[in-house]
Symmetry: C2
Subunit: 364 residues, 2 copies
């Protein structure tokens, strides 16, 4: 860690790889021999086409995206996807199955209910979303237009790994991958559509990635705004209108960095190592306690609590003074949350755990 | 101009003030004493709130925005506004008046027609949008929910200055200010709503500004996606979900720069000076010719042609070699277009005109 940088455990926007930031800084005012900043480039220029199509190509390679899927660079975050998904896919029986594993799933459900019938096939609301409910295909709708799930729950710290994606008998699976894209491996061919806001593992807020199976596009409801139609963006290679050009450039640099690190498989290995350091500490601590059942623990977001609110506050304040920032938990869970996305180095987690150990000794 | 920078006449994304780029570059990896890049900041953090609320305050001051208007930082560009405007404002008689002055007005009309009745009160389509049609209040609908106009036509190089905003007898005027926001003065109180994509005069693509009179919000159609409701963003001070945080920061730096330059009035004066240099040359040239009627000429986008397509191509190529880039005109107008937004210095226009003079001598 550089002297003047902190370890930033923010849930998003969050830490970015420092070497990527430094590269972008270097070419910020003048990009290569273009005579201008990437921010000043026409999105229709040769220089910029190299950037956007290059980013798309690297992401396709990293996620092993099959040829019959389009990669789209969109705007509006996950919250816009909550509407785009039903507007575009609820087009046969106006019905969809949703798994309710947290606040983002809840928001997605509420938005979809504007446009059709939502069947909640499983929920963990009874225990404040501290586990992933059992997914039993026998309870799924036979005539749903799609099956929706949040793959990593940023707030509650649970995830559904690739091995637990259920067999939906051909019904397209939609996955919100906002907080674990490029951080653990998924087989894209199991999905009809995945989406992710960029601000956790990919780059600046304001860019949203969607990966959509081509046969699912082109049948949006008539009321769908043009900008909210997947097929419009697919046909125009994300250049229907001016895309968030700089954010795409920056995400492209992050894709290059992930590739250099060894790809998604290597990132997942490091992320498992980081998570294990933190969870092992929590499991052995007499003071700190994790809030999620063991088998459903997220690799990205680790919520934990101390015995009293006073201790929580004390911990957060002392941690901040030592350069471990944004550890305050979400208001619905309380306590603390350490978000340890791809860009958080192993040393950051080790340093945090060391600090937690000291805090435990001093406060037992 | 720095040695390795070009004069960039792109219609958008376009030139940014070099001193703003240099300031952003300096604090790119670590912002002040935050220990992180602005890109890595939680949008709920104190540091970031200072940035976004500071930007809002400066913009309010620069545009003299009355207290009963909200300034919103949105995503999706003008193309998303084409849907948001009818979805939010076509809520009484499902009817609106539109002025058709170019391709963007046309797209806005097509989008609004999905949601209600559009009355085209005036059009300049007959002469390839090379003038602003006469606006006669006697022809306006008495029961329109709003009256829509594009204030500067980026492609065709026309504009409707503040002095020509018609009296609509209380019907809210909606203005697309995408290519001349902060570049010429408008009295916001004449409008119900204005919007602008950032990528011409404000900053990076991916940020859209909307300024909306408060009484017009809160009655969107039921089918409106939550993210496309103005009131949701107003109530949450543009923090309903993660906004495009870095782009807002950068736009804030541009607002500070405009303020330092003397505000919108001073910018307009410089822009008139720049435009006059170019138009005077065109009016006196025997080879180059402007394509727009004198009284409707834009201060921002100056289209012009040479007598043959061969000469157009030759000019564009030779200009590029001299560091005057992105002068190719829109495919529907042909020839050339020089976009001279706020960040284009007077010297850039003078240098271009000097080059055009030489080209004329060599090719007469």
């Amino acid at each position: 860690m550089e002297l003047n940088r902190v370890y930033n455990f923010s849930a998003g926007p969050s830490m970015l790889p420092v070497e990527v930031l430094e590269k972008a800084q270097k070419e910020f005012v003048v990009y290569k021999d273009s005579g201008m900043s990437v921010m000043e480039m026409s999105h229709r220029s040769k220089d910029y086409e190299e950037i956007i199509f290059g980013a798309e190509k690297t992401l396709r390679e990293l996620m092993n995206v099959p040829d019959n899927y389009s990669i789209l660079f969109l705007q509006g975050g996950g919250s816009t996807q909550f509407a785009m998904v039903p507007l575009n896919l609820m087009n046969k029986n106006k019905k969809a199955d949703y798994v309710k594993t947290g606040q983002w799933a809840k928001k997605a459900i509420e938005e979809a209910q504007k446009y059709g019938t939502v069947n909640i096939v499983a929920s963990s609301e009874d225990k404040m979303y501290s586990y992933i409910p059992k997914l039993d295909p026998a309870t799924f709708s036979k005539d749903a237009d799609y099956f929706y799930m949040t793959l990593n729950n940023t707030i509650y710290g649970t995830h559904i790994p690739d091995s637990k994606i259920p067999d939906t008998n051909g019904i397209p699976v939609v996955g919100d991958m906002s907080s674990n894209i490029l951080a653990e491996k998924y087989d894209i061919s199991k999905f009809g559509l995945i989406f992710a806001g960029a601000q956790k593992n990919l780059g600046p807020a304001g860019l949203t990635i969607a990966i959509v199976r081509n046969d699912l596009m082109g049948n949006a409801m008539d009321i769908t705004p043009t900008m909210l139609k997947y097929d419009i963006h697919a046909k125009n290679q994300s250049l229907y209108n001016t895309p968030p050009t700089y954010s795409i450039y920056f995400a492209g640099l992050v894709f290059d960095w992930v590739k250099k690190m060894g790809g998604v498989e290597a990132m997942e290995k490091i992320n498992k190592e980081k998570a294990a350091i933190l969870y092992d500490f929590l499991d052995n601590s007499k003071l700190f306690k994790g809030t999620v059942v063991k088998e459903d623990r997220s690799l990205m977001n680790v919520p934990f609590v101390l015995p009293t609110e006073e201790l929580n506050q004390k911990f957060i304040a002392e941690a901040k003074a030592k350069g471990f920032v944004n550890l305050k938990g979400h208001r619905t869970v309380g306590g603390m949350r350490a978000s340890i996305y791809n860009a958080m180095p192993v040393e950051g987690v080790k340093a945090l755990v060391e600090f937690m150990g000291k805090f435990e000794v001093e406060n037992k």
